[in-house]
């Protein structure tokens, strides 16, 4: 896992390359002149075939999508493949985005997470077919340990994760960053599935409140 200590400080949203595109769109296409374009607005433009809006979305979320895929699947070229699929899907299906149901960032990161998790599960299933005898083995202890102590760039997320109980944190980490099903989480933590589901719920509620995410 590559760790770049400097990156945590960079502007999270707008690398310079996107500035001109956003500015141009604001001047030329925004229905409310002067109103800031958020990702949802950009997606509406993408749905109408606007390639500059697409570039602006990539500039805003490319690093999040790639980093998330990388965290889940590990392999850089696989992560790149997944990122490419996600953004092509965004391009093709932008018309399906429904702002009433959630924000654009959540929509795109959910697409990315699903693809990444499907990929690890698919790869894992292929490995399992080759090594039938160890299909039930959980991750080895070192791996579990690593997900708990893994360095997160985002200070707030790290702080909020630190505020969870150990079981809540491990349940969330193994599920979200490793793509484990809750049954696999239970197996690897030696807890029962009902407990794991409860800890996941308690953990997300606590994270949500800690991060100040609107319910």
């Amino acid at each position: 896992m590559t760790r770049n200590k400097d990156r945590g400080k960079e502007n999270p949203v707008a690398p310079t390359a996107s500035q001109s595109a956003v500015t141009h769109l604001r001047l030329a296409d925004s229905p409310e002149a002067g109103g800031p374009l958020d990702l949802g607005d950009l997606l509406l433009l993408v749905a109408r075939g606007d390639e500059q809006a697409f570039a602006a979305i990539y500039d805003a979320l490319g690093a999040s999508v790639y980093g998330l895929a990388r965290r889940v699947v590990r392999d850089p070229s696989r992560a790149e493949e997944i990122s490419q699929e996600v953004f092509i899907q965004v391009w093709k299906s932008a018309a399906r985005f429904d702002p009433a149901r959630g924000n654009a960032k959540s929509w795109i990161l959910t697409l990315a997470h699903r693809r990444a998790v499907d990929a690890v599960r698919h790869d894992q299933a292929a490995t399992n077919r080759e090594n039938k005898y160890d299909w039930s083995n959980g991750p080895d202890f070192d791996e579990v340990e690593e997900t708990v102590t893994i360095s997160l760039e985002h200070e707030q997320v790290r702080r909020c994760l630190d505020g969870l109980t150990e079981l809540q944190r491990e349940a969330v980490n193994l599920a979200y960053y490793k793509g484990f099903t809750y049954a696999e989480v239970a197996e690897s933590l030696g807890a029962n599935t009902a407990t794991v589901k409860t800890r996941m719920r308690d953990g997300i509620v606590r994270l949500r409140d800690c991060m100040g995410v609107g319910a």
Binding site: W91, K92, R96, W107
Partner: protein, 233 residues
Amino acid sequence: MTTDLHSLMAPYALNALDSWERETFEAHLEQCDDCRAELAGFVATAARLGEAAKQAPPAELRDRLLAAAATTPQERPVVTALAQRRGLRRTLPRLAMAAAFLVGTVGVGGYVAERNQADNYRADSQTITSVLAAADAKTSIKTFGGGGKVQLISSASKNSAVIVASDLPTLKNSKVYQVWLVKDDSPTSQGTFASSGAMIMKGLVGVDHVAITVEPKGGSRQPTTAPISTIAV
């Protein structure tokens, strides 16, 4: 393994359900105001976890994507979106339909598959949705070593259960899987399926379990083999 469907909400938001339970939960989501009300906040929280993993992608990815976009056709705007989609949600059986929030994740291929699955369940949609939506709905899942799963969703208050089999190994000599409702050791046939299928079972009072046996094509009047699986109701 028996679960209360609301409890799948958190694993769903973390994408920690297998595809099978994901579909079940998405069907539940269509019917459950409580879960739907909470979904956006949970999903946004998960998205924050995703952003925290942010890492610079290879520079050439941007150029490749922009080039791809320039030559990739887009889906036409979905005219059935919103209002019509909402109407659809009320009337269609949704056992395999995409989640409210995640409707957009289903691509063209997925949409076709989803439609076909929905058609399979259409006839019995009312019962299926009422079982899935029941406050006391319980689900049990059995995974088979040779591949495939059987899921039983039951509701005592609706006095009904839905059994859904998916991708069980194909049997030789046109044999089929037959589902039985067993009451006082006396089995009543509920129907047969080849590899995947769904059926509704009404009248759960006094039923001990559901059994599945392997039978000749067309099914048998009484089980002729020992059950390959039994699921307590």
